[in-house]
Amino acid sequence: MTRESFRSGFQDRMEGAILLGLGGSMVEPALATRLYRNLLNPKFEPLTLCAGALLGLCGLALLLRPEHGHGTTPRLFRQAVMLAFLCIAATAWDHMLRPPQSAGAPRTQARAAEAPIPASPVRAAEPVPARPADQAAIPTEGPALTVDGVRYVRLNIAELAMLLDKKNARAPERFAIRARLTRPARLGGTSLLARTAIVCCLADSLDVGFLARGLDGIPTGRWVEVCGRLAPLSAAERLKAKAGAPNGEAAFQVIDRARGVVAEHVRLIPEPDPPFLYEFHDAEPFAWR
């Protein structure tokens, strides 16, 4: 290859190399499931994989068979933008591949051991009997569970919100949900069960939350599975729900302004990895994880 020949094809070769890098940046997370699920809904995995492969082919075509004699105009701007993106994506991956984190939670947060603990007493305003529940009997898997003879349907917190919002649907009377417990200052320290749902990607994610009662003894920031039921919020609680939660990673926060969760049984669970919700059903069996 002469020097002139190499020069005449240099721009195409350069862009071919960049396309290969971009293709790799799509194939890599699609194959590394955990990395992908921290950024996008896994339903897009095959699409991303195909697109990455096609970009790779385009890159190879330009790299190995550049068009000589033209196309030598410097395309520095777009090349610089693409290279900058590759650097940023690498930073994001490095960040993602570290230990898991929930929306807005500190990375140093320790993972909770899977250990049942009794539900804290329910407020007097709520006529729910504080029962000495046999917490160890709570099964860890399955679409429904029975505690003290009561059946709780497992569903995720977004599914619960969706059912409550739907005209012709009814949420189960007793249910079990998995969520992170926080007590944001903006809510006056009231317990909030929330989880981030990703419809497409992190940019359109939603923090879905319910105010909760009966969780007073549980430390803030822990992940819990709560067996319980819904109860109307008091006027004061409605005001707090309207104030909303502080920003996490999610684009929006939605807290139910009319109903809250009354915990009847609760157990600590490990933080899901990744902590996001991707699948939503409007009938049993729910995509409860």
């Binding site: 950024l39 385009c58 068979r65 105009t73 701007f77 990607c201 992190l202 940019a203 990673e249 929006f252």
Partner: protein
């Protein structure tokens, strides 16, 4: 600046690019296939049709070529280069991301089977798209495309820019030609996607959305607030309905403003318009659809049509 916030911005930017890139690539592939295989005369024949027919064809083309807004822009540029009239291409580019089965089904699902929201959304996109098609095809300049050195380079050499570049006669040669064109087109449009994704990620991370949502009680404030949110958040047209549906406190005209404007204008599309079109059409594409959606949604709200 908070390093954690910067990391979040990097995550969001990467997520937006990874989500949109396959659709941009699909648009680039369609563009390359058109450039390689479609004869210019097909599109020139379209230019001979009357303007209402062009606009109508552009509006329904989204049903045949379902693509999101990221894929529509490179395809529109290619169609214009092949001689297709702006009266058809602009309505396709603006309305196609909403008037396709996937986006309409997503809107219907997100609003729990309320077909009225999907229908209003389609109408609120069709009207500005048609108006822009008429406006830009009636302009003084026949060519609304920006002469672009990099774009020309991506076409091949200056001597044959805009025409099929003597593709190889055998299947391997044609495939190579399509792949090279797809790659160049993707890189050329991808820079706008990346710059827009960076801007959207920074807005999402550093601008609190709460103050926009707090304007929800007043129609005069909530409609412009949701228009602004649609531009700043740059959410894909297949996902934005789910975000809108999660905001029940916002009046429906404002939600429709969010749903109608997002696919026509956001932080990814604005730089793309400026890169593809001459200054006047680009400015019109940025300002006019937003103004039209504002007027239409305010009209709907004040008339109580959505009660």
């Amino acid at each position: 600046m908070d390093p954690a916030a910067l990391r979040t911005a990097a995550d969001v930017m990467t997520a937006i690019v990874l989500e949109a890139a396959p659709f941009l690539l699909l648009g680039s592939l369609c563009s390359a296939l058109l450039a390689t295989f479609a004869a210019d005369r097909v599109f020139l024949r379209l230019a001979g049709k009357k303007r209402p027919a062009q606009v109508a064809l552009g509006l329904v083309a989204g049903l045949a070529m379902p693509t999101c807004e990221c894929g529509a822009a490179p395809l529109a540029r290619r169609l214009l280069r092949k001689g297709a009239p702006a009266g058809a291409v602009i309505p396709f580019m603006l309305a196609g991301p909403v008037l396709n089965p996937a986006a309409l089904a997503a809107t219907w699902t997100a609003f729990r089977g309320d077909w009225r929201m999907a229908a209003w959304r389609a109408l609120l996109v069709m009207l500005p798209a048609a108006a822009m098609g008429v406006l830009l095809s009636a302009g003084r300049d026949a060519n609304i495309l920006r002469p672009d050195r990099e774009g020309a380079a991506s076409e091949g050499c200056a001597c044959c820019s805009g025409r099929a570049h003597a593709p190889g006669s055998n299947a391997a040669g044609l495939l190579l030609d399509v792949l090279r064109r797809t790659g160049r087109e993707f890189l050329d449009m991808g820079r706008f996607l990346i710059l827009g994704a960076a801007a959207a990620a920074l807005c999402k991370t550093f601008l609190p959305q709460a103050w926009l949502l707090n304007l929800s009680t007043n129609l005069w404030l909530s409609v412009p607030a949701m228009l602004l949110l649609a531009v700043l958040m740059s959410i894909c047209s297949s996902a934005d309905a789910f975000v809108a549906a999660s905001l029940p406190m916002i009046p429906q005209p404002a939600l429709l403003a969010f749903l109608a404007l997002g696919p026509m204008l956001d932080l990814k599309l604005a730089p793309a318009y400026l890169g593809i079109f001459r200054a006047r059409p680009a400015r019109l594409l940025i300002v006019a659809p937003a103004a039209m959606v504002f007027i239409l949604c305010m009209g709907l709200g004040l008339a109580g049509a959505l009660e």
